[in-house]
């Protein structure tokens, strides 16, 4: 069995486990156990993402823009994995409810993680623009810009403004509540462009890692936006359905790394099957 297939099966089982945790935490009144399970699962999924990206980074031998992009993605998700472990430790070892105390130490690590992630995905997209391959129609990019502007306007009106006006929320928390979705808009702009571009590659082997990265970022962004809203309104708790968004995103990103390795191995073996 190929390593990427095995990774996909494990990822699928993680998501099923996540769904079970969610269902049980929803029906049981004592959701603490399932919250802890969910925290552990998130840390595991983030570690899987970092591992997959490390595998992809290592398989590329010569330093160039592409190896640098994979390295930045690895560093970004490595920091995410650290943040998830800090978050889980706070909840499990120190009996702190991180969703009640915001921001926590984990939030600062996540914030730091955005820097290499944004740089990495922007470099990937820039490299593609320089490659000379099909860029797609201007109409798509106009629609994408319009969609992102509308999305930003909705966020500003329904999320940012009420958060900024809320006297109970500290300045630190306000900055972070606004930072996550704002940085996500940047990530999703690049991710949606990648999703669009990968359509041109059909079933080509190169499309798999890119598709996984693009869809992975989309899941993470959707979960981040939902988290900012639910946590601010006090409706978020570990084991929530949005945890599945993060976990699916993490696992897709991890898979991207394994698919990248498979692509390089395929070239090494002299065939592109």
């Amino acid at each position: 069995m190929k390593k990427s297939t095995l990774a996909a099966i494990i990822a699928g089982n993680f998501i099923i486990l996540n769904a079970i945790i969610y269902v049980f935490s929803a029906v049981r009144e004592t959701a603490n156990f399932y919250g802890i399970m969910s925290n552990i699962l998130e840390a595991l999924c983030a570690m899987t993402a970092a591992l997959g990206l490390f595998v992809a980074f290592r398989i590329l031998k010569k330093w160039d823009m592409i190896k640098t992009s994979w390295m930045l993605l690895f560093v970004g998700f490595g920091l995410y994995a650290v943040a998830e472990m800090v978050y889980a430790s706070l909840a499990i070892a120190f009996h702190v409810n991180p969703s009640e105390i915001f921001p926590t130490a984990a939030d600062y690590v996540w914030t730091l993680g955005y820097i290499p992630l944004c740089a990495g995905i922007a470099m990937l997209y820039y490299s593609y623009k320089k490659s000379g391959f099909a860029q797609g129609s201007k109409k798509f990019y106009l629609c994408l810009s319009a969609f992102l502007l509308a999305f930003a306007a909705v966020l500003v009106y329904f999320l940012f403004m009420p958060i900024l006006k809320d006297p109970k929320t500290s300045l630190e928390a306000k900055v972070l509540y606004i930072f996550y979705p704002t940085a996500d808009i940047f990530l999703i702009a690049n991710a949606l462009s990648l999703v669009y571009i990968t359509r041109f590659f059909g079933v080509g082997l190169v499309s798999r890692p890119w598709k996984c990265i693009a869809f992975g970022f989309m899941f993470i962004t959707a979960a981040d936006v939902a988290y900012s809203y639910l946590n601010w309104t006090g409706q978020y708790a570990a084991g929530s359905v949005i945890d599945m968004g993060w976990n699916t995103g993490y696992l897709l990103i991890g898979l991207a790394g394994f698919y990248q390795k498979e692509l390089i191995d395929s070239i090494n073996s002299g065939g592109s099957k």
Partner: protein, 84 residues
């Protein structure tokens, strides 16, 4: 996609499984244009230029070293065609 020019066909057969048939066709057309020919008029003399351009394009997916390997195969395609 099938070309009457065996050189173009060999390049296509190499690229299509990797970047998909649509992009392979587009890459051959674009890079041939840069070499001042069409896919059907690619001659062995054009291969180094086409190989170099394809290397620049695909390095984003497979990295510099593997792109160079593929480029070397394309640059030597005429040997494979004349032998096989």
């Amino acid at each position: 996609m099938s070309y009457t020019n065996p050189l173009a066909q060999k390049i296509y057969n190499l690229l299509a499984p990797l970047i998909g048939p649509l992009m392979a066709e587009s890459a051959i057309r674009l890079q041939s244009k840069k070499a001042g020919v069409t896919p059907e008029t690619i001659a062995p003399d054009h291969l180094p230029v086409i190989a170099q351009e394809i290397e620049k394009a695909i390095r984003i997916f497979v990295g510099l070293d593997k792109a160079r390997d593929i480029s070397a195969v394309i640059a030597n395609t005429h040997n494979a065609v004349s032998v096989g």
